[in-house]
């Protein structure tokens, strides 16, 4: 099977490749929910902040409306799943017991800080677990399209949208490229298939250091 992946699938697949070793992983809504289909690491255990550890895809016939993820999509138990209340779930997140959070973002600034919960001018009436994940997960991976649907730049010098946290993320995976964040600076470390460095530069406002494979400088 050699199906051409959509932009979102391409991003999800690249994130899945990053999840090596025994890991507790929390997936945000949107592109992150596509990650599991590319995972073949049995030591990745998925955590959902509404109170469950150990998540599998569910077959249509087996849907139970009371087993859902944070996006309220139906999921299934695995052999070593457990359930817990919301305070315990966020205790896990804030307490540093989740290894990786994969999150969507509206904007990223050039220090690696993200905005993913509110848009100025609209009602700011929802935040959910975004801020908790940002301060608590050991590693944060952003999975997002490089540009908005209207082709606006999302990786900016500064976010116009309110920040989710003062903590920079660790990695940004888009349909154009992969960036790593070190000491509040962005490093372009990979280009996605068919994308040129020039295209990344044209569509990114933030400063970044190019550090593609074979160009390691630190």
């Amino acid at each position: 099977m050699n199906v051409k992946l959509s932009r979102n699938e391409l991003i999800a697949k690249r994130v899945a490749e990053e999840l090596e070793g025994r890991l507790i992983v929390n997936l945000g809504i949107g592109i992150p929910t596509l990650v599991p289909q590319y995972l073949d690491n049995p030591e990745v255990f998925l955590h959902t902040e509404n109170g469950m550890l150990g998540i599998d895809d569910v077959e249509e016939d087996n849907i139970d409306p009371n087993i859902v993820n944070a996006g309220k999509l139906p999921i299934a138990e695995t052999k070593n799943s457990s359930y817990f209340n919301s305070a315990e779930s966020f205790a896990m997140i804030r307490g540093g017991h989740v290894d990786v959070a994969v999150l969507g973002a509206l904007q990223v600034d050039e220090t690696g800080k993200i905005a993913n919960w509110a848009i100025p001018g609209k009602n700011i009436i929802g935040v959910g677990g975004a801020m908790d994940l940002l301060v608590g997960a050991k590693k944060i991976v952003v999975a997002m399209t490089h540009l908005t649907k209207k082709n606006q730049i999302k990786i900016k010098k500064q976010c116009e949208f309110p920040l989710t946290s003062t903590r920079p993320v660790d990695m940004i995976v888009t349909d154009y490229a992969v960036f790593r964040v070190k000491n509040e600076e962005l490093y372009l470390t990979e280009l996605m298939p068919g994308v040129t460095l020039e295209e990344v530069k044209e569509n990114t406002e933030a400063n970044f250091t190019v550090q593609l494979k074979g160009e390691e400088v630190y």
């Binding site: 359930y83 305070a87 959910g128 677990g129 608590g136």
Partner: protein, 234 residues
């Protein structure tokens, strides 16, 4: 004296008064006390403050009560799930207190645990920490959050025994065990009422000392949405 109450309407009329703070369990409709919410829509009460992750969905669950104009304040983390909330907020018809979901749940736990308030790193440096106290502990910045308590809690559990011990079902657990600890009067809506001794002491999630009244669920969330059920009380 049994905690099992058959006349839910009368129970709510006895326990609810204008201006109260009500804790309502559930993550959207999952684990929401749908029967109690439905009965709330039949009761003449106003100016309620509702502590709940969401205010239901459009016209459903707490969304129905919202549209009756009974809710003057919402304390939650994700009101986005019901567009009617944003609309009322815009018109100044409802006050909203938005908290990160971890802070919402932790504050309710604190309320039930006799903790006055606590320090969390969540939201430090963001718009949601504006005006809140910051304290440096072991070199890191934390924001102060006060405990949340309610006058009444509406919670949803799976089973109750006669004493009022509760167990939950899957991810319908969510905020319910926390809210069961944090209100003066706690009403648990359950799908099954069993005899004492049928619940394993090791698996009881909410010990009976937290529960004041038990009512039988008459509305259940299924794949097809919320449906009424008829079941006899034991």
């Amino acid at each position: 004296m049994s905690k099992i109450i058959k006349d839910v309407n009368q129970l709510l009329r006895e326990q609810l008064t204008d201006g109260q703070t009500i804790l309502v369990g559930g993550f959207g409709l999952i684990g929401a006390p749908l029967t109690l919410i439905e009965e709330l829509s039949n009761i003449d009460v106003s100016d309620l403050s509702i502590v709940s992750n969401n205010l239901g969905e459009k016209g459903k669950g707490l969304g129905k009560v919202l549209n009756q104009g009974k809710i003057s304040k919402g304390i939650g983390s994700y009101f986005t799930s019901n567009p009617d909330v944003g609309e009322r907020y815009q018109k100044g018809e409802i006050e909203l207190q938005l908290l990160p979901q971890g802070t919402l749940s932790e504050s309710i736990r604190a309320g039930g645990a006799g903790i006055g308030g606590y320090f969390t790193k969540t939201s430090v440096g963001t718009d949601l920490a504006k005006g809140k106290d910051i304290r440096v502990i072991y070199g890191e910045e934390y924001v102060f959050e006060p405990a949340i308590k309610g006058d009444v809690a509406f919670i949803k559990a799976y089973k109750a025994d006669q004493a009022g011990n509760l167990v939950y079902y899957k991810t319908a657990r969510n905020f319910n065990p926390l809210m069961a600890t944090a209100a003066k009067y706690v009403i648990a809506e359950v799908e099954h009422i069993v005899e004492d001794g049928e619940l394993d002491p090791e698996e009881i999630v909410t010990p009976h000392l937290f529960v004041d009244a038990i009512v039988q669920s008459r509305y259940i969330l299924t794949k097809e949405g919320v449906v009424p059920v008829e079941r006899e009380i034991v």
